[in-house]
């Protein structure tokens, strides 16, 4: 039990380090509900300023933990025994300016490989994701000709665009567990075909991809499995 300034992001969100993205999302929503003011639960216990302080900490925690790249980095730092003070403010290195645009050739090379060997330049972490703009600019730089859109590829594309699963879940209203399973290619844990197609199509559009092609490709893998 520590004061909030001394808690790590997991403690602030009151979740385990192994929490799923769904749990992170739920914890975040709950905290917003609790500390955004006017909640019965804080009445007479916390002042408005104290709520604000907690809420700021919650926002910081969510920003880092809701996105796998930053979360993994954070976990590494935690495991390395860095003190909470040193853990924040949290920076992830900006991607190299000379980062190669994703082109079809490189995608073909990595597509069949196992997840561990996937190489991918560090993603730009945008704290305030302006979706349309972000998608627009990256889209122009990329060509997906010849790419087969399977889950692992979709995940990489999403992460390169600095979009968290939570954000997509929130905007598309697709259950975050499904999104996670789509990317993880857990085919047996996905909804029935018709729903899956509709989810895939929304998800693809959100990433600025050709939704028809994504659905076609994905369903091919799905049916093979």
């Amino acid at each position: 039990m520590k004061r909030i300034e001394e808690q790590n992001y997991y403690e602030i969100l009151e979740i385990k380090q192994a929490a799923s993205y769904k749990e992170i999302e739920d914890a975040y929503k709950r905290a917003k509900e609790t500390y955004s003011g006017g909640s019965l639960a804080t009445y007479s216990l916390f002042t408005a300023e104290e709520c604000k302080e907690i809420l700021d900490a919650v926002e910081d925690a969510y920003r880092v933990l809701s996105f796998s790249k930053t979360r993994e980095e954070y976990n590494r730092r935690l495991a390395a025994g860095l003190s909470v003070e040193d853990l924040k403010p949290f920076h992830i290195e900006e991607p190299a300016k000379t980062m190669q645009p994703i082109v079809a050739e490189s995608w073909k090379e990595i597509a069949p490989a196992s997840k561990e060997t996937l190489q991918c330049a560090p993603a730009t972490i945008k704290t305030d994701v302006e979706i349309p703009k972000a998608v627009q600019t990256v889209k122009e730089a990329e060509s997906f000709e010849g790419v087969e859109f399977r889950g692992s590829i979709l995940k990489i594309i999403r992460e390169r665009r600095g979009l968290s699963l939570n954000l997509i879940a929130e905007k598309t209203k697709i259950n975050i567990n499904y999104l996670e399973n789509i990317e993880a290619e857990k085919y047996h844990q996905l909804p029935a075909g018709l729903f899956l197609k509709s989810y895939l199509s929304q998800y693809a559009r959100f990433l600025g991809l050709d939704s028809k092609k994504v659905v076609e490709d994905y369903m091919r893998f799905y049916e093979k499995a």
Binding site: M1, E14, T34, S39, L40
Partner: protein, 333 residues
């Protein structure tokens, strides 16, 4: 009874608090559940009596004790008429054993000690009387003792709450109820801490910090415990252990919406952030006409309307308390 004086010390010592049962030298090996504190009329008596019925159905022997000194009405909750013997007879020493005031409720495995009827005489039960009651409880031959402590934050209420294995707080989704519940948790919390230290300086700090505008600038119990740890590492450590062990249970009553149910989860969060304690949110009970209709007929709603949603809610709460679990969101009705 030779050990009485030794026992008195024992009751207040941490060992007793730790194993929570408060076994005097009787043979009681069961569990004590207590509901108390908070605002009047939030449904405490209603809930504890129906919890008792739910438990008794499992074949375990349950003793309900109406310890709401001055506001006793458990007998009405169970549909019994005013009993001929009550706790006042015991407190006034008209009878020597608590067994002499235990009555049959007509419900299998469920017996009752009815509350005292005379407020002035009994509500101000003194320390010796309280100890006598606590000791006698350990001679009860039952699997469960369920205590209705009523509202308020008198030392009597706090101490009974503290000896319980499960201390239950009933809250309704209204600011007044929640404010009172926090005040109660605060009082119980500080009393518990104060009981485990003899260190005068630390005790004084606790008293000072109970006033939010204290000069030390300590705002929350979490900060207090950190502060104490700096002064005296041993005591700080003991406090931290106590805090981990202290897990009151929360029931939201009179809920009318999903948002009302969620207030319970929010309270869990605020208590963790403020007190550092992990409250168990064991469940909620919907506001329902059937509940007060049963009350009006002086019948427990669990028996009168066993298939209603409040009845199902209550069964789930009983299960969660027995299994020491929190409510799971997926199972919200």
């Amino acid at each position: 009874m030779a050990k009485i004086s030794g026992l008195e010390v024992n009751w207040m010592s941490s060992e007793v608090l730790n194993n929570n049962n408060g076994n005097g030298n009787g043979s009681f090996k069961g569990q004590i559940w207590a509901v108390g504190g908070g605002k009047g009329g939030t449904g405490k008596s209603l809930i504890i009596s129906n919890l008792g019925i739910c438990l008794s159905r499992t074949g375990r022997d349950v003793l309900l004790v109406d310890a709401d000194l001055g506001g006793a009405n458990l007998h009405s909750c169970l549909g019994n008429s005013f009993p001929s013997v009550t706790l006042s007879d015991f407190i006034r020493k008209k009878v020597s054993s608590i067994k002499d005031v235990t009555i049959d409720t007509g419900i299998p495995h469920l017996s009752l000690i009815s509350g005292a009827e005379d407020y002035l005489e009994v509500a101000n039960t003194n320390y010796a009387q309280k100890m006598r009651l606590l000791r006698q409880i350990t001679f009860v031959d039952s699997d469960y003792i369920l205590l209705d402590l009523g509202a308020g934050t008198t030392f009597n209420t706090l101490d009974f709450f503290l000896i319980a294995d499960s201390g239950i707080i009933v809250v309704t989704p209204e600011p007044t109820s929640i404010e009172n519940a926090y005040r109660f948790i605060k009082s119980v919390f500080y009393r518990r801490l104060k009981k485990i230290v003899r260190h005068q300086g630390v005790r004084e700090i606790i008293v000072e910090v109970m006033d939010r505008k204290n000069e030390l600038g300590i705002k929350t119990p979490v900060e207090l415990i950190n502060y104490i740890g700096l002064i005296n590492n041993d005591i700080g450590q003991r406090f931290k252990e106590e805090v981990l062990k202290f897990r009151p249970k929360l029931i939201m009553n009179n809920v009318r919406s999903r948002a009302d149910i969620n207030v319970g989860f929010s309270i869990k969060s605020t208590c963790l952030k403020y007190f550092g304690i992990n409250i168990a949110y064991v469940g909620y009970i919907e506001y329902d006409e059937s509940v007060w209709q049963a009350v009006r007929r002086r019948k427990p709603f669990l028996l009168e309307y066993p298939n209603t949603r409040p009845a199902k809610c209550l069964e789930r709460i009983t299960k969660n308390i027995i299994m020491n679990k929190d409510i799971e969101e997926e199972f919200i009705l």
